[in-house]
Structure formats: C-alpha cells, structure tokens
Amino acid sequence: MPLLVPPAAPRRGLRLAMSLSCLALPSVWRAHELARSDAAGLDTGHPALNAVLPGAGWPQAGLSELLQPYPGCGEWGLLGPALSRLGASNRVTVLVAAPYVPFGPALAAVSLAPSNLLRVQAISAAERLWVAEQALRCADVACVLLWLEQAQSAPLRRLHLAAQEHAKPLFVLRPERAQHESSPAPLRLLLSWQDPPDGQDAQRVHSGVVPPLWVRVLKRRGPPLEARLPLLTVSTGLQALLTASRVQARRRRHLAAPLELVHAVDRTASLV
C-alpha cells in the first residue's frame, strides 16, 4: 500500500494522521466508511437505499443476495427501477426458477419490458446453478435473477466469480433462514413487509396507508448498519389508490367483515 509521508514534517505523527484522513487513496478502505468502488454502482431508484450502499447503488458486477421471509416478497419493486434501466439496451433479464408467474402487463406498467424477460423453469438446485452460470456467460444478457432454496457457499462463489468476469449483476433470492449461513456475496439485504417491533413506527414514516418494504443491510463493504430502511416500492398508481380507499374506509368502518362487504358494495351502488 503506497503511503505518502511528507519529507520534513515537524510533528510527524500528527501530519501522518492528517494526511491519512485527507488523502483520498482509492486503494485504502477505512473500516468506518463505505467502500468506494471505481465503477459507480447501478442506481437502485431508491435514494434512501443508494445512500447506504457502496458505490451508491447495486454492484455492477457480482453477486448480491436478497433474503426474503416468503417467496415473492418485494423483489420487483426493489429491483424494478434498476432492471428497467438495464433492459433499456434491449438486453435480456433471465429469471431462473421464479417462484410465481411474472405478470407481464403489471411489469410493463413499471417500464420493465416483459418481452425482455427470459424465464427458465429449473427444478433442482444443480440445474438452477448451471442455468445461471450459462446465462452469465451470454453476451445478450443484462442481468440474472436466481431463486435458490438451498445453496452451498462454494457454488455461490463460483457464480460470483462468473458474474464478475462477465461484468453482470446477479441477484440471488434466498429464504430468510439463510442469513445465518456464510455467503460470498459482498452485499446481503433482508427484505420484509412486517413492521419492525421497535420504535420505528410505520405509521409515522409513511402515514400508515402504503406499507413500506423494510430493508435491512446484513452485509456490505462498510460499517454494519443496524437500522432498517423503509422503502416505498409500491407503484405510484397503487399508492394513490390505497390513499383514496383509506379515506373511504374511514367513512365505512364496518366494512371489515367480508359478508357485510356485499351489502356495502350494493349500498354504494345504490348511492349513484
């Protein structure tokens, strides 16, 4: 590591400390700061998340892990802005072993062209890993999303190296219980819809109408981050709808029971 020490310094220790703190050496990473990377990250589309990620975005090349309590927990809203930016060059996003069927019209509405999706139904874990690695090696692929139930560390490292070699982002979506296993991913996030029990109140943050996606950074190149980030990943149209229906629900408190709902609908219909 090259260190620049001033040649004739009166108080050498102080000078050295100052120069270390002032110098912006790209190869020096101080543990209390976020790691800088030469290549800027891929903009996540969520400013609050950008602020806590090294490179101010998703890694452009390499493995990132998203841990979810349930399959299909907030991934499209979280990755959507970045994926739509990646898909702008008409390259393909590969979905390996997606848990449900991606719904094209809804994805198109958040400017994620569904015609640029390649969905591969791979069943066994070995197949999924193989497909992901083949997809990373393809020149026309922009990004790979891989759903894995169980994974060893070694094949994940292999995928990480393949993603780095071919300069593609790879997102691996794993169940929540994997957070206690070691992983070669430089970035690990835990997603959850559940409001945290501690002092952070969802009501206060987002007025309680639209549920935020709580993101906890389990691992990053930087100091650990305890706080959970509330991200508004729901589409704007749905936000407006939820807000509007909230106003109405205040007027009709008794709508909670589904049997009465039928009557409620009929009654509103008769109000025309």
């Binding site: 090696r137 819809w193 709902l261």
Partner: protein
C-alpha cells in the same frame, strides 16, 4: 502456371488422404481452380498470387485457414510448374524438412501416377527418373507401354495442356467416418463428431454459409432386435459456423442416447443452410462482445432442460388476468422475426401500436357491470368501462396503462384457495381488505356454445394486506354464499 499440391499428415508422418477433400474446400477460398488427386489436393494459383501477396502470403493464408483442420506442422504443400511435378515433389517430401525443388527430369518414377503399372518394365530398361523415360524414343514407348505415360510426361513438362476435373462444392454436405474401434457409449462419439464438424466447417467456409440443421447418423453392429442405425437431428435457430456450439448441443443430446450396440460408422449430413450475415467488428476492444449470443444460450438451455422450460412472454388478447399473457417456449427462430400476434389484435391494428394487444382488446370481450360510485379514484370497473367506449382514443390508452399499473407483479397459476377464519380469508395471518371490490365478468358476449366452463369468470377482486406477506391480490368467486370461496391470485412484490 503455378501448382500447389496439399496433403495433411498424421502424427506418425503418414499422409491422411481422407482430409484431402476438406483441404480442397479450404483451398477454394484462394483460387477457383482446385482439383483432387489420388492422395492430395491440387490448386492452381497463378491468377491469385498477386491478390494474396505472392506464394508466401498465399501459403500463410492457407495455413491459418486450416489450423483447426490440420495441426500446425502437419500440412504439407509443394509447389511446381505443373501438377505432376507438384505432386511428385509432395510425395518426396520428408517430415520437418523443406520440400526439395527437384526439376521434373530428376523426379523418381515411383511418384508418377501414370508410371505405376509399368514400374518393373521401366526398371528393367534402366529408367530411374522421369528424364530417363523422356529420352526414350516416343513411338516405341507408346507402342509398348501405351500413350498414357507419354501424355503424363508431356503434361509434366508443360508440352501438353492439362485436363483436370475442377472441384465443385456439393450442395449438401455428406461425410462419414469409420471409427477406429466400436464405441459403446454415446459420449464417445463426440471425438469423432469433432472431426466431422471440422470438415463441415471447411465446407461452410467455402460456401460462405451457415448451417441451420444437421443430421448425425451412426451405424452399429448388427444385433438381433436392434436397429442398425441411429440418428440425431439438430436444428439451430440462426445460421452459424460455430462448430463448438453445435458440438455442445450434440453433447447435451447424446448424453441421453443409449447405444444398444457398438458404433462402427459415423456420418454427418447438412440439412439446411442459409447465407451468413457478415458481422461488423469494432476496432475498439471495449465494444467487442464477449460470450455467446442469446440464441445459442436458449438452444443450450433447451437442449438440457427441454424447450418447454425456457419461456418468453407473449401478450394475449383477453381481459381475464391469467389469460392476458402466455409464457411460451422460446424458439430461437423468433429472435429475428416478430412473434405472431394474436388474431384479435390484428383487427385493431390502429390502436395496438401504442400498447400491447392485451390492453386494446379488453373492451371487445369485457362486459362491465355498472360501476359503484366512489369505488376508488382511477380504479375498478369505471376505468375499464372508459376503455370500452372507444379503444382508439389515446386518453383511454392512458387509462388502460393506469389500470395495468394496479395489477400485481406476480401471478399465481392456478390461484391458491385461501383458508377462512371467522369469515375472513387468511394467508400467513388474517387479511385486511384495503381496496375493492373490482368486479370482473368474462365471456359476456361470446356465444354460449363456445363458452367453456373455465371461460366463465365472475369474480370480485380485492387488494388485501397481510402483515407478513405484504399486499395481495385476492378474489372471491361470485357464487351463492354457501359456496363462496376466496382465492389468492397475485402478489404485489
């Protein structure tokens, strides 16, 4: 005139005449005048010397063109003023030594094809080299040994015009290879296939075409109750000269083939070829593409997993959520051409340019009940009914897009039936209904005879919130209260 005789040698310095044809096909890239001799390929290059930078430049180009056919150092070429001389010099060549440029009169008789039947007689006459025969009286020689020998010598000296059968490329590639031993496992065929593929590439290069399909046939030992032949058809999405890709595809397919008997012969046929589009390459190293193309990826994934598991999205003309789209097998040929559009959308071409067919066609089959007032701004049947009025109005397209933004990003197929607890649907805990109902009725206008039971859809959709699983899209079948059932149909992820 300048002739070059070409021959490939094996590891133990033996000529390999089987490769002569592939070499000749390669040579066609340099000159149109190529012929096949008994054990070598012959090319006449006097007209193309200047273009390729002299004899040295031409030979360099020949070496670089054949490097995957013949290993470096095993391709032997001998030039000569006439084809018998070039052939004779080639047959005298020694491994790892420069070709001896003997004049025609000093070449031994053993390397002349026409002298083969008369070698003993000529030997008794005291003739060792071509010049000895040439000095004999012509009429007596023609009477005793026939005119063919004299004609060959005249051609060698250039006194007589050579007559050659110029090689023309066959329209269909067909080549076969005898395996050195019976191969019992299908993966063992790959090595032999590599050699056939190299010849196929030479043929393709000479034709400037890419292959679209090949047929691999293997012939096995005769056994009772077993076919003597097996075959493998490989179809490719786009014309290619990339033999490594074909070999990988064949490996995926051959891994599943059981050979009932040892294989003795392997042959390869081209089924279909197409002109290869030239690729423009960038001068800058950054812009050069690394890795295979999407078509190759899809083919390889399909070869191992089955084509039905590699899917692409296609919009469909329906307004029932599960029929708005179709994930269909991604055949690589569609990469270049547009996917066939649904028939309903063709009727409304004017409007389908801005949005997908699923959005424009919705009104044509949707019957929307009168909208409940205040059912939510921009939500529900009111929005759909607006589209139904005039599909061509751009503002309605906007409305349709706004409607799509309210759909969930994950769809459950088939919908998951929810358990009930105290008259409330539950999914990871009791659900709170936030928005709804959005009423959906399908097939209202379709004739009854054509309406299948599953086409008849009457649902009330709600957006519900689960504390753990987030926002969900659930619906209730509009059935009598005793049969009422709730289903989870989508997840807002």
């Amino acid at each position: 005139m300048l002739w070059i005789a070409l021959q490939a040698w094996s590891e133990d310095a033996q000529p390999v005449p089987e490769l002569s044809q592939a070499l000749a096909w390669q040579a066609l890239a340099l000159t149109p005048r190529v012929a096949l001799a008994r054990d070598a390929a012959l090319m006449e290059v006097s007209a193309s010397l200047r273009l390729f930078g002299g004899l040295r430049g031409l030979l360099l180009r020949l070496h670089s063109g054949t490097h995957d056919l013949v290993q470096p150092g095993r391709l032997h070429a001998a030039p000569g003023p006439t084809s018998p001389v070039a052939l004779g010099r080639l047959r005298l060549a020694q491994p790892w030594k420069a070709v001896v440029r003997l004049p025609a009169s000093d070449l031994p008789l053993a390397v002349l094809d026409a002298a083969g039947p008369h070698l003993d007689a000529l030997g008794r006459l005291g003739c060792r080299v071509w010049g000895d025969v040439r000095r004999l009286p012509r009429d007596g020689l023609a009477r005793r040994l026939g005119a063919a020998l004299l004609d060959a010598l005249d051609e060698a000296w250039g006194d007589r015009a050579e007559s050659q059968h110029w090689l023309q490329l066959p329209d269909v590639f067909e080549d076969r290879l005898e395996l050195p031993f019976g191969v019992e496992h299908s993966t063992g065929l790959l090595f032999a296939l590599q050699r056939l593929l190299q010849r196929l590439k030479a043929w393709l290069l000479a034709r400037s075409q890419g292959v679209l399909g090949v047929r691999l046939v293997w012939q096995m030992d005769a056994r009772r109750g077993v076919d003597r032949e097996g075959e493998l058809l490989l179809r490719l999405g786009e014309p290619t000269q990339d033999m490594a890709h074909i070999a990988r595809l064949a490996a995926e397919h051959l891994a599943r083939v059981q050979l009932p008997a040892p294989v003795q012969w392997l042959s390869l046929h081209s089924l279909e070829t197409a002109a290869l589009d030239g690729q423009s390459r960038s001068l800058l190293p950054d812009e050069q593409r690394r890795g295979e193309s999407l078509g190759q990826l899809v083919e390889r994934l399909g070869a191992r997993l089955g084509p039905a598991r590699v899917l692409r999205w296609q919009a469909q003309a329906s307004h029932v959520p599960e029929r708005m789209q179709q994930w269909r097998a991604w055949s690589a040929r569609e990469l270049t051409r547009d996917a066939p559009t649904p028939t309903l959308s063709q009727r409304q071409k004017g409007s389908s340019q801005a949005v997908g067919p699923s959005q424009t066609v919705k009104p044509s089959r949707a019957r929307v009940p009168p909208s409940p007032p205040g059912g939510g701004q921009g939500w529900g049947p009111a929005a759909v009914a607006g589209v139904g009025a005039t599909a061509l109005n751009p503002s309605c397209v906007q409305t349709s897009k706004a409607f799509d933004a309210l759909l969930p990003t994950w769809l459950l197929q088939p919908p998951l039936r929810l358990s009930m607890r105290a008259d409330r649907p539950c999914y990871e805990g009791p659900l709170a209904l936030l928005v709804g109902p959005q009423r959906l009725e399908a097939s209202g206008w379709a004739p009854v005879a054509q309406t299948a039971a599953e086409d008849f859809v009457m649902r009330d959709y709600f957006i519900a919130r689960s504390p753990q699983a987030g926002l969900l899209w659930i619906y209730r079948e509009r059935l009598p209260a005793s049969q009422a059932a709730w289903f989870l149909h989508g997840i807002f992820a």
